[in-house]
């Protein structure tokens, strides 16, 4: 994968982060390829991010997923050098972050990239409005201006009327809305989310996810979204990177991950996903057999499988799967049933 600064909002290449006293030395020798446990045993260092590369396209929602301790938070912090990377290159908006001077880096954080945190990180001694305006305050904007802007953002995230409350007077969900508003207030091009909703209960979490989707649609920011919740990843992500022990093991669309896990780890991850909700007809369509009738209902290849069931139940003829005008293949009831019946579909898919 090549970093292409012009087309990508974020480009990451060969990123390493090793925690510990002898990080540079570890990186220089072959120790860096050791398993995390072995590495820690041998050198006392932890390799949190190992040789990670990816691009994020402008306006994309890029999700990073992985088990606890897989290095997600470290990775996302390396992007703006909240954690100093041990090696590698990060480019944001065409600018090499690694080479930025402290002042330039601050500039980047102030205007281009902002972040939402798992534990909110609100300042308890400030009112909501001053929390939201914090980013503008450190930029040195006058009080009236930043309050006006903060009020605007507060209504965008649905917190009208809470401007003068203190964070601890709000529910968890509302607090995270404040966190979101704070990140939005500086009008960044890129927003980083580090498991923003995992401290919230499921119902509120769903609301907040909807909120992010809405915001993404309305303000169109590039987003890097960290989560360890697969359904959240599938719901939000245009592309998902799955991390394990510091490395990305697979990067692709939800469909690619569910349909073609790169290894057992990923397969394990996506096992419980109802495939019919994620995979499209493209994954199970097959070339029409000779003599098969081709006058059945016609559906686009990107149709999610579960949505094809209605069409299939209306007509006994195989569904014609099309991509534009071109016929990709057909799917008949037997195919659908075989897929829905579970286990062996994995083989079918791989075979396909």
């Amino acid at each position: 994968m090549r970093v292409s600064p012009d087309s990508a909002a974020i480009g990451v290449e060969g990123l390493w982060k090793i925690f510990g006293p002898k990080a540079a030395k570890v990186l220089a020798c072959d120790d860096r390829f050791l398993e995390p446990a072995a590495l820690r045993e041998k050198t006392g260092c932890t390799a949190a991010v190992r040789d990670v590369s990816f691009d994020v396209r402008p306006g994309e929602v890029f999700v990073v997923m992985g088990l606890s301790g897989s290095g997600k938070s470290t990775l996302v912090r390396c992007l703006t050098r909240l954690v100093e990377p041990t090696a590698g290159r990060v480019v944001i908006g065409g600018e090499d972050v690694g080479a930025a001077t402290p002042a330039r880096l601050r500039e980047l954080r102030r205007h281009h990239v902002s972040m939402v945190f798992q534990h909110f990180g609100l300042l308890p001694h400030r009112r909501v409005i001053d929390n939201v305006a914090y980013g503008l305050e450190v930029q040195g904007r006058p009080r009236a201006e930043r309050h006006a802007r903060a009020a605007e953002i507060l209504s965008l995230v649905g917190l009208d009327g809470h401007a003068d409350a203190f964070p601890d007077q709000l529910s968890g969900g509302m607090q995270q809305r404040v966190g979101l508003a704070r990140a939005l207030a500086v009008d960044p091009q890129v927003m980083l989310f580090d498991e923003p909703f995992s401290a919230l209960d499921p119902l509120i979490r769903r609301d907040m996810q909807a909120e992010v989707i809405r915001l993404h649609r309305e303000v169109g920011k590039t987003m890097v979204f960290i989560t360890h919740d697969l359904s959240e990843a599938l719901k939000l992500g245009e592309r998902i990177a799955i991390m394990r022990a510091g490395s990305i093991v697979q990067l692709g669309t939800p469909e690619e991950l569910v349909g073609a896990p790169a290894d057992d780890y990923v397969a394990d991850f996506v096992r419980d996903v109802p495939r019919s909700h994620v995979l499209s007809l493209r994954w199970i369509s097959r070339p029409p057999e000779p003599g098969e009738p081709l006058d059945g209902p016609e559906l686009p290849a990107s149709t999610v499988i579960k949505d094809a069931i209605a069409a299939a139940s209306e007509s006994s003829r195989p569904i014609r799967v099309v991509d534009g005008d071109e016929l990709v293949g057909v799917v008949d009831r037997v195919d659908l049933l075989t897929f829905l019946s579970g286990q062996d579909t994995g083989d079918t898919v791989t075979a396909a």
Partner: protein, 637 residues
């Protein structure tokens, strides 16, 4: 948790007590054979002492022409004296109504009228006790010392809180400063800064700075890392993050730092008087040198009252929520109080009206005399029994044992409890004590400490266990302990002196009273922290409460108990040394003598150093609790 698995590393099935018992027998035998040889008797004319005395004479002669003094130390003295003078001048200028009004107003701002009322009453009591001027001096001294301590301690603390490296650099220094008995710095201070208010202020600062640094560092470290990260992620500079995030979020813990600094400063007030710091301390020392509790008690009460008022004020600042504001009513009340005070201060005379004082000196003296005469039999019996049965034999054991035997015992004990490095440090300290020529007196002091610590631990364990087992007992005991811990250490000397006169026992008694509260607290906490599931499991296996205590709770609270012992020793040592003023003899008395007789300055100075060494040694012997996981636990995990 099988202890046999540990004590028989070779796998031989030998009972666990055999090895220690064998060693004990070995030591006893060695003592019997070698007793009286290899002792290091005290020689008050040792060349080490003479050298320091000469150094002092030299410094005295060159105080006004040596550049170190001319361009540095004297300026420090000048500056600190200036700060004290400023405070003293300002507080005096306010007059008594003004000062009471202003303090009341500050208390109101700190915690509402509920704090203001006792503050006003407390400050009035200084006048009523006839101690207004001394109290103002003490307040000025404490204010100057606290202000300067914070000016140094808070930045250092912030730095240590932000930088791991700074933290690591500062910690050992603070450790030593905190186990250093207060008495020990007086001689060097007198040497460099002469006597008087500036030197007293500096002595107080040395004592008060460690908690300022430590707690500030803790406060900064405790600030939510996410909030800090959030600030950084929005492009805040380090300074912005410090001012807008760290400091506001650390505020309430930092108020505790101020609180502790004030408390420490107040408890130094008396001792600082030995180098002529003005204030209430001089009344106490006066009472001490006249053996009149009647003079000491009011001054002691005034110090305690001042401590309580300032404590409550700062604690209520610390307890305030992160975003509470002072209400308009509060501001108005405080303002009115301050204004009324200041106006009255302009009108009324500056001295506290004679008519409003209550002179209790004679009454208290009579009461003490009564107690002394009517309890004479009991107190003398206690004192004499302890002295003849415990103190004297132990003292002769320590002083007649060959030095190498004592050294070996210290090495072994420290090794067993705390590990190799602490053991070597302890040994080093002991050898240094010997080289300094203070061996015999150090052994005597150690005897007193040993007796005091043993009693402290017994009482502490009993009360701690009682509190841990009975919530009601704990509820009764807690406020008493709280109060006891706010009191300046010196106050405990008063009742002790009244009951036991000037003897070693007085120091022992005072140090027990001084050290028991924290020990009780640590023990109680240790037992309470034994996981409920373990206790439940043991109970469900049919243990009686006694079995539960002996077999589960006490062994599992071992760390806490060792820590309690460690704390107890450090505190006891500090107090025993102060006891030199009231007959405890040995190192403490040498220090006192060093101030009183020029020719003994060297001995006093070195005794101060020896006290520090003794403190470090005793700390290292018992520090296993703090820093090393116990061998048992290490085996299990």
């Amino acid at each position: 948790m099988s202890s046999t698995a540990v004590s028989t590393p070779s796998g031989l099935r030998v009972p666990g007590w055999l090895a220690p018992a064998g060693v004990a027998v070995l030591f006893a035998a060695a003592y019997l054979v070698f007793r009286g040889t290899g002792t290091l008797p005290h020689d008050s004319e040792a060349p080490q002492f003479a050298a320091v005395t000469e150094l002092r004479e030299w410094i005295d002669d060159h105080r006004n022409d040596n550049p170190v003094f001319l361009y540095f130390l004297n300026y420090v003295r000048l500056f600190v004296g200036g700060v004290y003078g400023l405070f003293h001048g300002a507080l005096t200028a306010l007059g008594w109504p003004g000062l009471i009004g202003v303090m009341g107003a500050l208390a109101w701002l700190a915690g509402g009228w509920r704090i203001a009322l006792p503050a006003v009453a407390g400050f009035c009591s200084f006048g009523v006790l006839g101690l207004w001027e001394s109290s103002v001096e003490t307040l000025a001294l404490v204010a100057a010392a606290v202000l300067l301590s914070l000016a140094i301690g808070v930045p250092l603390g912030i730095w240590a809180g932000l930088s791991r490296r700074a933290h690591r650099a500062v910690t050992p220094v603070l450790d030593v400063m905190q186990i250093m008995p207060t008495f020990a710095y007086l001689a060097p201070l007198a040497l460099f800064f002469h006597i008087g208010a500036p030197a007293g202020t500096i002595a107080t600062m040395i004592y008060a700075i460690p908690p300022a640094i430590r707690i500030t560092a803790l406060a900064v470290q405790q600030v939510s890392p996410t909030a800090v990260e959030a600030s950084a992620s929005l492009g805040a500079t380090r300074a912005q993050t410090l001012v807008k995030v760290h400091l506001p979020l650390a505020r309430s813990t930092m108020a505790l730092a101020v609180n502790q600094t004030i408390m420490m400063a107040l408890s130094m007030v008396v001792i600082a008087n030995l180098i002529n710091a003005p204030g209430l301390g001089s009344d106490i020392i006066l009472g001490l040198s006249r053996a009149q509790v009647g003079i000491m008690l009011p001054a002691g009460v005034a110090i305690v009252v001042m401590a309580m008022v300032l404590d409550r004020m700062t604690v209520s600042v610390a307890r305030r929520g992160p975003h509470s504001r002072i209400g308009r009513a509060g501001l108005a009340g405080a303002g009115a109080l301050a204004a009324a005070g200041v106006t009255l201060g302009l009108v009324l005379p500056h001295e506290w009206p004679e008519a409003l004082t209550v002179d209790l000196v004679a009454e208290i003296n009579d009461a003490v005399l009564w107690a002394e005469t009517s309890w004479y039999g009991v107190t003398t019996f206690i004192k004499d029994t302890t002295s003849y049965l415990l103190l004297n034999p132990l003292e002769s054991l320590f002083t007649t044992a060959p030095w190498w035997l004592v050294a070996a015992a210290v090495l072994l004990a420290a090794w067993r409890v705390s590990g190799v490095r602490p053991a070597l440090t302890a040994l080093g300290c002991l050898l240094a004590i010997a080289l300094l020529g203070t061996w015999e007196h150090a052994m005597r002091t150690m005897t007193t400490v040993a007796v005091a610590v043993s009693v402290t631990l017994v009482i502490g364990l009993l009360l701690g266990v009682a509190a841990a087992r009975s919530a009601r007992w704990s509820a009764v005991q807690r406020p008493v302990l709280d109060a006891a811990q706010t009191m300046p250490a010196f106050v405990y000397l008063l009742p002790a002196l009244a009951l036991f006169g000037t003897t070693r026992f007085t120091a022992i008694f005072a140090s027990i009273v001084y050290a028991v509260p924290p020990v009780v607290r640590l023990v109680e906490e240790g037992i309470r922290n034994v996981p409920g599931t373990v206790v439940e499991a043991a109970a469900s296996a049919g243990s009686t409460p006694g079995q539960l205590l002996w077999k589960v709770q006490l062994p599992m609270a071992r760390r806490a108990i060792l820590l309690a012992a460690n704390q107890g020793i450090v505190m006891t040592l500090a107090m025993v040394v102060v006891g030199g003023l009231v007959g405890a003899g040995a190192l403490g008395y040498d220090v006192v003598l060093g101030f009183s007789q020029r020719t003994d300055f060297g001995m006093g100075f070195i005794a101060g150093v020896a006290t520090v060494l003794l403190g470090v040694m005793l700390d290292r012997i018992t520090q296993g609790a703090d820093r090393r996981p116990s061998p048992h636990q290490r085996k299990v995990t």
